[in-house]
Amino acid sequence: MPGPCGRPARAYLGPMRALPPILSDWFASRGWGLHPHQAAMLDRARDAATLLIAPTGGGKTLAGFLPTLAELAANPRPGLHTLYISPLKALAADIRRNLTTPLAEMGLPIRVEDRTGDTGTTQRRRQRADPPQILLTTPESLALLLSYEDAPRLFAGLARVIVDEIHALGESRRGDQLMLCLARLQSLAPGLRRVGLSATVEDPEALGRFLAPGGCTILRADPGPAPDIAMLSGAAPPWAGGGGRHAIAEVLAAIRAHRTTVIFHNTRAQAELFFHDLWMANSDGLPIGIHHGSLAREARARVEAAMAAGSLRAVVATGSLDLGIDWGDVDLVIQIGAPRNIKRLVQRIGRANHSYNAPSKARLVPANRFEVLECIAALQAVAEGDLDGEPRPAGPLDVLCQHILLTACAGPFAADALFSEVRRAWPYAALTRADFDACLEFCATGGYALRAYDRWRRLMQRDGRWQLRDPRAARDLRMNIGTIVDTETLKVRLAGRGAALGEVEEAFAATLTPGDTFLMGGQIVRYEGLRDMVVEVSRAPGRVPKVAVFSGTKFATSTQLAARILRLMNDPAASLPAHTAAWLALQRQISRMPEAGRMLVESFPHDGREYACFWGFAGRNAMQTLGLLLTRRMEQAGLAPLGFVASDYATLIWGLGPVTDAAALLDGDGLRDGLEGWLAGNAVMKRTFRTVATIAGLMQRNLPGQRKNGRQATFSSDILYDTLLRHDPGHLMLRITRDEAMRGLVDFSRIEDMLARTEGRIDTLRLDRLPPLAAPLLLEVGKVPVEGAGRARLMAAEAERLLAEAGLSG
């Protein structure tokens, strides 16, 4: 039987320091002791902030709760004592179950409750009136709690806050929002102590500062033995493609040889294809499940329960299984496709140790020959302990705008006090007063240069304090809480039966025509039609599916890994599988190998279009920007580009005219000049704007119920973007969008680095066919269309064709 929040800690039976008898007796009765890091957490219980870095299976969560249990056992008291925050709702519910049983056995009068988006209204209300001692919640639910007028009363006695999986939260806006909420909590409960629980990270000190800028104790648990990690050797992967279906037989053999295997994919579509083929080959009928974010919640819950119960031999998954969910006794992780990010790989395989002292075991399956290189580079990096990571930039202002509006929901506030409080959150430590005031102005009046209307206000100043003009607006603002802005998705269900299978992105649904088949939950389904914003499908056994292109989480390969790969490709002594060596040789023969100090550009016709492949190795975001800048210049040069796709290594552009002089297109001054004009009108900026405008409260989030009556559909955020750009180009939302894009999706500094590295050494090769190295790029998802002459020509041709087909010509 496992311990309360982790696995039995038989490794260490040291003295039960600082544990009240009721707890130590209970541990002793089970023959359990504490891990050293759990004991250390008790020793450090009075510290203002503590960050614990521990591998999975080390009883990390228990370590976080022990000081709370010790304090409450010694001095029972009503009222909220400890707030536990997890990035996942499911995790909060798990922890509640795992804490409730031992507390009952010890007879401790401690109430533990969770509160998430799934908690019912009655319980929520009761929790605010009569809070439990331990409340388990998510960053969004905490933001909501803080937006109520009774927040000061609720949190006044709060003693501890535990942030679980803080390494994951630290990488996103959710973490920025959470740190603003912690600053607020600290104002309401000045004695509040903070605890962070994290998996292995490259820079624990930075994460400690993120948790508590005023200083943080860092505790490291024994990381355990080094992982057993290698490539799943054998069949050569295909020339191109993703998904690793060539390795089905080997993967099945590995599943048979282990108790429980988790098979990770980089995208949902690949997971679906792989799962389908795995089942076709699964002649023993091994119980195998699938788990990804597009599946219906019930379907995911079934798989999670089966995993926890140990009744599955394997799960095919995407990043949706990365956090929190109880993995049961997983003893093997298989990563299909290149891992893209070494730190995440290490964190994943760290979870595959059924016992704390055994090495975790992982196998990599490169899905194509380029990924063989990526996998070899990743293995080298893991062996050298070279974790990648970039420092988290300052907190974005859209999140601050949301925070200001939610603060106003809780009651009147003074600008000076809020400014000081916000700066006590690490992401906003360097916030200027001017930026704060701009955000406040945006929240109050919209911040428009044109101020024609008195009634154009959301916040009013009264007696020097800011408050909502209309308190009823609080309801809408609370509905808009959160920093995750989903892509628009549509539900998929079987026609006539109503059983939900999952969701697909709206953009994917729009490409379907009746009769198209795609994979969903491992079944091939046939698209029947769209009805009331639901994609209706029927079962289509035995057909070959049209590849589902709905995208899942796609990690960007880190800078470090990209550099390693470039070195590997040019290392004559590198030990590569024969097929990969032969492929690189073919590339050298047909074209040329990209080199560190030069930029290779391959230009070739393929499938009726002209392609150009720019090998810049600058990382996905910078390569994406390069695509946007280059297509703009190509449009001006009359090359009629139609679209492009970027990988971490290359940008592949297609259009109607061939690229003959890449050096002219890549001229640094030209690219820089193009940047300003270009930033205005492209799809990436508009996508970024949509996120920014939604978080900041300029646009109301599209709620599922509202989208049903499509008639009054909210108009596209693109219209707001275009309007602002034309009439108010200095507006705060555009500035935030630009900043976000520049450091996130645009990453222009890495284009500068790339240009400096190559210093004009650009080799344009004109080839008569698709070169070997560029082939996998054709299958990348995330293609960006280019609006221009080329597309206009294609649209006109398509309209012509449809008219002729319908007999309506002329």
Binding site: T445, G446, Y448, L450, A452, Y453, R455, W456, R457, R458, R469, D470, R472, A473, D476, A495, G496, A510, T511, L512, T513, P514, Y527, E528, G529, L530, R531, G697, L698, M699, Q700, G710, R711, Q712, A713, T714, F715, S716, I719, L720, T723, L724, R726, H727, D728, H731, P785, R791, A792, L794, M795, A796, E798, A799, L802, L803, A806, L808
Partner: protein, 222 residues
């Protein structure tokens, strides 16, 4: 803007890329669903503070169309104002509108957002008959030779969705001309039920593009 010219019950009409309908013989320009004052209405209701520029944006485009066609008469097919309070436009927009109206016959058809007579000048009408054509806000299923708006139709071609005119032998439905307007896809039953078998869609944009009316992916079951 290059338009799509078609004959409609004896009238030679042009569906323009801007979303306006031009009747050259009568020098009549028809636009629908301007929704002026939409951001102000939302702000009054305590909702999001949208950029208050849609009036300028819409008037700017309307002025360009009036100049390009040298229209003698402008007919607005209803929902010209987002609500009756919005009729009181900000001063600069009100002056701009007055300038556009000066020297032209200007007719406001009533819409569901602006159902009562409104008074920024010009004439008001619930609907209008002109040379055998009838102009009103919401299409009637049994109508013939009818020009209407209301639905904000959009249509999709080669992966692009754009505001679109829908037309067949009996009716023309205009896209919304206002800046802050969403749209209803042409495959929606509300539009499919109105349009006949030979219906076409004319996509707005730099050049108007005509195509067969897109049909729903599949006829419904049962």
């Amino acid at each position: 803007m290059a338009g799509y010219r078609f004959d409609f019950h004896g009238a030679a009409l042009e569906a323009r890329g801007s979303g306006a309908l031009w009747w050259a013989a009568r020098r009549v320009l028809v636009v629908s669903d301007l929704h002026l004052g939409k951001s102000a209405r939302m702000a009054r209701r305590g909702g999001a503070l949208l950029p208050p520029y849609e009036g300028r944006e819409t008037l700017h485009r309307l002025e360009a169309e009036i100049r390009a066609t040298d229209a003698a008469c402008v007919i607005c097919l209803g929902d010209s104002f987002d609500d009756l309070d919005a009729v009181a436009l900000p001063e600069d927009e009100a002056e701009w509108l007055a300038r556009l109206m000066a020297g032209r016959d200007w007719i406001w058809i009533e819409g569901n957002h602006d159902p009562a007579p409104i008074a920024p000048g010009g004439r008001n009408a619930a609907e209008l008959r002109l040379d055998g054509l009838v102009l009103r806000h919401i299409a009637r299923p049994d109508a013939r030779a009818e020009i209407s708006g209301h639905y904000h139709p959009k249509a999709r071609l080669a992966g692009q969705s754009r505001p679109a005119f829908l037309l067949d032998g009996a009716r023309v439905i205009l896209p919304a001309f206002g800046a802050y307007t969403g749209g209803l896809d042409a495959t929606d039953p509300a539009l499919q039920d109105l349009m006949g078998a030979t219906a076409r869609a004319v996509l707005t944009g730099p050049a108007a593009l005509v195509m067969p009316l897109p049909r729903p992916a599949r006829a419904r079951r049962g």
